[in-house]
């Protein structure tokens, strides 16, 4: 039987009257990496801390491995956490930091040190055992924090924005390492970030949060291609959002008219009336003279980005503008030029209006 690793049942966290986390429910399968994603203040870190037991829940139940842990303190839950600041104990060396959890659990020193050494080797820190945290680079400190957490072989491993203190180049590398480690050790990981790219890259599943509630819960692909709301469409990827009118529906598809072009899109439960069109930049191409159903418009802004051009195109006849990238940097258009836009309906999604 495959028990759920984590289950949140209608969990809320109130600070006075304000709800930081508002009636949140979700489940996490064992061995998966689930990301909590959202803008700052959306409640993702609070959710993580509720799971860790660092904050008591105001309402609802939290289950870890099928066991109700709502009333248990952090020390009694079988989870460990990698903190944003790493929270390495500055007065203990790497070995002592890594042993800490085992020793707290009552394991003998020699045994604990052997386990810790093995985990430190796994994260590539063999030979650093006697260093103090202050003598390590940011990336190494992060590995110590990971080693310290996985030494306990927790049911759930928590990461609170683990990459935010690393420089941009290192981020990608560490991100891949975390994912690889999770896959090899078959860990259940809950990962908090505000960076949507990071979330899409590492996750099996992403839970997007907004204002203390879950905005959408799904695979990275679902989130990107089928956002359920304007918020999700806007937060994940750079969507061009544009209000449209649904002018005809049948069982599966809805027709919307944009400029002179009619698009037939998956209906996704929408009724007649207004809706919002989320258009990914890669759905749009400049027509460059091709014929067919093009949206007519004019170039308003031009931006040279080296590998490609970026244009802001005002559509003729409708209030609205699209951002379009175009690979042709040799013969760029200039402001005021007329430009036709080709729309690839496959990368366009309808979302309900707000």
């Amino acid at each position: 039987m495959n028990r759920l690793a984590v289950e949140f049942q209608g969990v809320s966290k109130l600070y006075g009257q304000a709800a930081a986390v508002d009636d949140v429910s979700f489940t996490i399968e064992p061995g998966t990496l689930v990301t909590l994603l959202g803008p700052s203040g959306c409640g993702k870190t609070t959710t993580l801390r509720l799971l860790a037991g660092l904050e008591p829940a105001s309402r609802g139940r939290i289950l870890i491995g099928g066991r109700d842990v709502t009333a248990l303190s952090a020390a009694e839950r079988n989870v460990s956490m990698v903190f944003q600041s790493y929270a390495l104990f500055p007065h203990m060396n790497v070995r002592e930091n890594a042993c800490y959890g085992l020793r707290a659990g009552g394991m003998r020193r020699a045994e604990a040190e052997a386990v810790a050494r093995e985990k430190l080797r796994q994260v590539g820190l063999a030979g650093f055992e006697e260093r103090l945290p202050g003598q390590l680079s940011g990336g190494q400190q992060q590995r110590v924090a990971v080693a310290r957490a996985i030494v306990l072989e927790p049911e759930v491993l928590l990461f609170d924005e683990p990459l935010s203190n690393l420089d941009a180049k290192l981020r990608r590398h560490v991100r891949d390492e975390i994912r690889a480690l999770q896959q090899t050790l078959k860990l259940t990981v809950v990962y908090v970030t505000h960076d949507q790219q990071e979330a899409l890259a590492v996750s099996d599943r992403v839970i997007v949060m907004n204002a203390g509630r879950i905005a959408q819960d799904g695979s990275p692909r679902e989130l990107y291609e089928q956002p359920v709301s304007r918020f999700v469409a806007d937060f994940i990827g750079d969507a061009n959002l544009m209000p449209v009118t649904v002018c005809g529906i049948d069982d599966a598809t809805a027709s919307v008219s944009l400029g002179g072009v009619t698009l037939s899109l998956p209906r996704r439960g929408l009724a007649d009336g207004t809706a919002e069109l989320a258009v990914r930049p890669q759905a749009l191409r400049l027509a460059h003279g091709t014929t067919g159903p093009v949206l007519p418009g004019h170039i308003r802004k031009v931006c040279y980005l080296g590998s490609h051009m970026e244009y802001e195109v005002v559509l003729d006849g409708i209030a609205g503008a699209f951002f379009i990238s175009d690979p042709d940097v040799v013969r760029p258009l200039v402001e005021g030029d007329a430009a036709g836009i080709l729309v690839d309906a496959a990368a366009v999604a309808l979302v309900p209006p707000e």
Partner: protein
Amino acid sequence: MKRPERLWLALAAAALVVLPWYGLEDTVDAVLALRPEAMPALGQAAFGGCFWLLPLLLAPALAGWGVARGRPRLLVAGGVIGIAWLALEGLAIIHRGWGWDFLSVLGPAPTQPALGWGALLFALSCAMLVAIGLARLGRCRGDVFVVAAILLTGLSILLFIGLPLLSVLASAVRDDAGHTDVSQFLHKLTDGSIWGFGCLHGGGACGSAWNSLAMALLVGVTSTALGLAFALVAVRTRVRMKSLLGLLSILPVITPPFVIGLALIILFGHAGMATVFLADHFDIPRSRWIYGLPGIAIAQTLAFTPIAYLVMAGVLQAVSPSMEEAAQTLRAGPWRTFRTVTWPLIRPGIANAFLIGFIESMADFGNPLMLGGNYTVLSTDIFFAVVGATHDQGRAAVLAIVLLVFTLSAFMAQRLWQEGRSFTSVSGKGDAGLHPPLPGGLKALCAAAVLPWIVLTVVVYGIILGGGFVVDFGRDNSLTLKYFLTAFSIEHGVGGWFLSGSAWSSFITTLELALVAMPFTAGLGLLTAWLLARQDFAGKGLFEFGTMMSFAIPGTVIGIAYILAFNVPPLELTGTGIILVLAFVFRNMPVGIRAGLASLSQLDRSLDEASLTLGARSFRTVRLVVLPIIRPAVITAMVYAFVRAVTAVSAVIFLTTAQYQLATVYIVGRADVGEDGMALVYSAALIVVMVAALGIIVLLVGRQRIGRRGLAAGNMGVGVA
């Protein structure tokens, strides 16, 4: 200890069955002599006729049942019943019969002496059983250490700060025979000696409340102005005074509060050095101007300016240079920059420094005692109401209430003020830049204020340190060791070396008691700080209020409150060394709280949390993570607790006895009978001891820390004399 409830259950039982129930002092002798009060509670109930002690057995019985059945509710019930009954029977049956009049309907009164070690351990065990029970019921996430810490700190604050203050209130509304009499209270409260205006319309003196208020306002203003001037010179000019600065920050700590007054008398008194000099050479008639408001104000300004300086230096350093640089780039000259940017930014700090000076002055006892003359202030009035010919405890209590209302209001005002405005624009990094130079006129003004003050300080400390080694300062300046030898001689006599100096006994007692109080003061303070900074629990607001009370209570009020609360059973502590230690601990607890809060606020919470998520409970976390990291704060709190206990005078002057004579009280006594030489040589010795104690911090913690700690202390509020 896997099952702490078994341990505390056993201790509770042992407290009833083994330890002597009554009497705290000479316990061993009492037990060996088989004196009746040395019997344990069970024996008292069985053979001593103290049947009212029997219900106490209910506590271990219920708790034991709870342990056996795994029912934590019974643990809580047992503990609560134990403590409640202990308090009830202790207050109902006292040494002279019924504690409450209405009980006389029950017939002739039994009596019982004051509680002893058995009762103490019993109460502690019961509290621990309650804590364990509550933790097992899921309070504070089942963490026994946290619940126990909250309960024990809360109870001890209630017992040793709350109860004494209640005793003051109760005593104020009671007449001499012990009956409640509100009219007499009102009569005493509105008495002319407190609120009179005699000095305004000629003839007579003003009331001590007005005197205290006037003095506190004056000293608040002068010490803040001088402190600001000094801070401006130190922080904003190129004058090199690093060493002077370091000295300044420790002066208020190591100076016993009355010593400056004493030095001023030697300087400006009727027969003082300066007075005589002026009379001899300039025909300025001798006078007693130093006694009264002018003298007290000068002494207190000297004493409290360093504190104001520390606050203002901190505030000035916290003003981001980039703000002033911005003003300069916007074409503002030095004056304009200072007037429109710097001054508004430091104004909240000035109000803060003023309130601290105000409270310090209100609470000061030593200087008014030395220099008061006919100018009566509240703190000394309380003292004379108790020890004087009148011996009117009710009046002392009323005066204490008035004084407490003043200091508490100022303290609350200071806290509100600090909460309301955050004047620190410091973010800890990235604020490079240079402060602009002071405007020329302001610089001259500051120098004009600071220089005479430095001269006076140097002269005063010169007298304090050297005065004990000359025959008669100012008149006969030949060197002598006679005072030193009288105080600190060691002689060889029959049976070997012995300490024959007259000061040794009080000196050693002081060091002993201060050393005993030191770990408790620091421990309680740091534990309280940890609870305040790191734990959330029901009633935290109340808990915080209780601890903050300890910041604002003047020493004199603590002294009188302890006398009133602990003079009679059930808790009879007066005359013991224990009450002195308790006074030290609860008086100086703020030292530990401040040090703890300051350093916990710099310690990232995620370190505690990391330890928790790694499976360590809070006790382990505190022991392995928090304490090692805040070690400097621990050492600082310990040493300051020691130093403040040694220099304390106001709280303990009521509580000392011939057996437990303290250094400061002894010195005040010497000065009172005119033995200035002895008083000075002894003060100098104390200062040397305390400099040595501070030297230990420097060695263990590193030099900069002292300055910072001083800043933190100054910023956080008050350390009342």
